[in-house]
Symmetry: C2
Subunit: 456 residues, 2 copies
């Protein structure tokens, strides 16, 4: 039987999940695969999400963030080539070209190139490289650079974090826990992906822990003292800074597909189907892709490790003759902010208010405050829940949570109801676990759902 | 308009939820209700589940466990009569008779008498009262008695806990945290409501914390030194004891309905419908009732506060002309064991293996071990999950969890899938929240489901 040559571009969550699952499935389907994985970086299968905790001191070193080493991948029979950037793809001729000029033929191409951090022009020096005390938080090399910068800057340093997505919040935590001063700047009105009321609760928590939060400003430049960064500027304002964290966002690394005939979104993202297919003999998964949001059947860009792992696995299985499918998302995410005695767990699932309106719903929303445990227990922490349901169909549309210990993962029960197109009544009346250290007799999630149900 | 006379027997979760919801709904439906609540005890609306934590020292006093006081109920317009036991009901004549000989007429009767703890004969003195250092953990009076007994027994005392249900485990925690010696005795092969593998993990945790666990023994007597308890005995064995906790179970308080024509189960339980109806003009909810388990459409006796609250609310609404319904259970429950450096969260939902077979399923079960958080995080605690699915339909049938911090409430996501008759694939692939402090990239619940899915 002939060998199928699979070339995977990108050696992180999606690419390596695909490669390993393809090998597993091939053993079952009797196919023979020769898998080559190319990555321009030096690391494989690492947790980018863990880098803020490395910066905070929770994690000893970058190696701890590596789920599987290059050696482990190679032992599994994968031809892994690091430091190898792919610069072009010829879909007709079925080859990819590396920066070194090598041309690699493939039978099946897997695009799993991820999404590097956006580095805005104002962060660059005239020679095109970023200023030494300025950088994003995405790769293990970024992490190592940050450890060194934090060391160099010393105890009295002030960190400016640009961008209030999850990474921005997590890096703020890290810097506060290291005893540094922190200013979080965002051009938005609050934390990305949260409704205003929930976002405000997070902002208050950040301030309570000693961070400065400035909303509605778009950084446009650095202040320099010679070659040394000493601040950031925006229209009508500035803030001193010894270190500047770029947490503005990421952008799919799909430049090498330009002109290949593969369709990309305006932002350069791919839109593979549930099996990872984007075109004949071309597959994709992970952060270089958008994912399908089941609730409104829209494509959304949610570069999260959990989606990359799942979609990669489905892709690998399908590529080798299986039929695993990535069934899309309900837009669940979570983070934590814990510093200086403040502990906030922050999570969301489903649509936001405006998205619900755009999808034709008649949304009713309500914020409910309660407790993570029975009020008389030492475990009881405050929690606030935003719940949204459709007035006509009573369908649950979205839930957001900000609260103390035990608050965050409550979102999973709501995500499960969304997954099954359940109603706010399902959430209110279903059988969730109760005991005093964990919940009130009506779990606060159910109180919140019930209150919305009463208003429909 | 005529006033409907409602007599509620029992002033705890179900009865008072029913009474208050009936008043709320009546305002909407325009009905006029005169609600009288009778209870033989001295307390209302208290958390029996909180008593072990009062014993442990987490809760300052019994008053903290009272959600609403008698005065608060009366302010809401409820005629609450404590210390008033109902001894008979005449459904034809629509009256109940109190121990004091009073006859109260009603238009609608609500039975919410709960389920007092079982006190076996061997625990009683010849005069029919329990031995002073022996008692159950159910009422606030029980709690107060235990605080006094623990005080009297002093630091070196040894506690024997009879029964390994949730109360037995929670009281074991309380005694260990007070520095006492504890032996937990159970006639079963492990912890009630858990599969053997999960139960063993709990037993190991109890032992690691210093408790002695003896399985498969049925206590038959007390050892006495004069009037003082000094041990318990069973066939072929005995154990010294200064204090004996009876955590054997509870039994519906429905004796007053004997001969009334109301149908009771062998164990004395009522089987109200989703609105709480058991007969014309007779309603019931709470611990004196069985609940309908949706998964196999069977009645089960699960005397839990969360069911009592929900069913009571649906009852009250329906009684006053509303249509809220208690939609049954999927058999979710949770507890914790935390003492001497051991922290175990213990939860279950769905069917057990034998129940699944009895319901005609072809169950596949598997235990998966993993981590509550990303392995490199300080929050990462071990967790084990038992997952069961049907081989033919792939339906999820049951999940059980034993693990560290953050393990227990994970059961809610599984409960939500069961609620919606979802498959093990739904659980494996749905969109649960991931960030390093909370989960691995595939949440361990999803890893466990995936592993079962692969074996179907």
């Amino acid at each position: 039987m002939s060998v199928t040559r699979v070339v995977v571009v990108g050696a992180d969550a999606a690419g390596m999940s695909a490669a390993h699952q393809a090998l597993r499935t091939a053993r079952r389907t009797g196919r023979e695969l020769a898998i080559t994985v190319l990555d321009r970086g030096r690391h494989t299968s690492y947790s980018a999400c863990g880098i803020p905790y490395w910066m905070a001191g929770d994690v000893d070193g970058g190696d701890d963030l590596v789920a599987r080493t290059a050696a482990q991948h190679r032992e599994a029979g994968i031809d892994l080539r690091l430091g190898t950037e792919v610069v072009a793809a010829d879909l007709e001729g079925r080859t990819v070209t590396t920066a070194g000029g090598e041309s690699l033929p493939y039978d099946e191409l897997v695009v799993a190139t991820g999404a590097p951090a956006i580095v805005p022009d104002w962060a660059l020096r005239p020679d095109g490289t970023p200023h030494p005390m300025v950088g994003p938080v995405k790769t293990l090399d970024d992490g190592a650079a940050w450890l060194q910068r934090l060391e160099e800057a010393g105890d009295g340093a002030h960190v400016v974090v640009v961008g209030a997505g999850y990474i921005g919040v997590e890096v703020t935590e890290a810097a506060l826990r290291r005893g540094l001063g922190v200013t979080l700047l965002t051009r938005g009105r609050g934390l990305a992906l949260l409704e205003e009321d929930m976002s405000e609760r997070v902002a208050i928590g950040l301030c309570d822990a000693g961070a400065e939060v400035v909303l509605g400003v778009e950084v446009t430049g650095l202040q320099l003292d010679g070659d040394r960064v000493c601040g950031v500027t925006w229209e009508g304002g500035s803030r001193e800074a010894d270190l500047v964290v770029l947490a503005i966002g990421v952008r799919p690394a799909t430049g090498f597909l330009a002109g290949s005939g593969i369709e990309l979104t305006e932002d350069g993202a791919l839109r593979p189907d549930a099996h990872g297919r984007v075109a004949d003999h071309v597959w994709a998964a992970g952060d270089c892709c958008e994912v399908r949001r089941r609730l409104d059947d829209r494509w959304v860009f949610r570069p999260l490790g959990t989606h990359a792992n799942k979609h990669g696995r489905a892709l690998g299985d399908s590529l080798a003759g299986g039929d695993l499918a990535f069934p899309g998302v309900v837009d669940t995410s979570i983070t934590r902010f814990a510093a200086e005695g403040v502990h906030l767990e922050i999570a969301r699932t489903g649509l936001g208010h405006d998205e619900a309106v755009a999808a034709g719903h008649d949304p009713v929303t309500l914020v409910t405050e309660g407790s993570t445990a029975s009020g008389y227990m030492p475990e009881a922490d405050p929690i606030a829940l935003w719940v949204m349901a459709d007035r006509r169909t009573r369908r649950l549309l979205g839930v957001q949570v900000v609260g103390g210990r035990g608050a965050g993962k409550r979102i999973d029960a709501a995500a499960a109801v969304l997954w099954h197109d359940g109603t706010v009544d399902d959430l209110a009346w279903m059988d969730l676990a109760y005991a005093p250290p964990f919940a009130t007799a009506w779990d606060v999630l159910q109180v919140a759902a019930r209150r919305v149900a009463e208003r429909l």
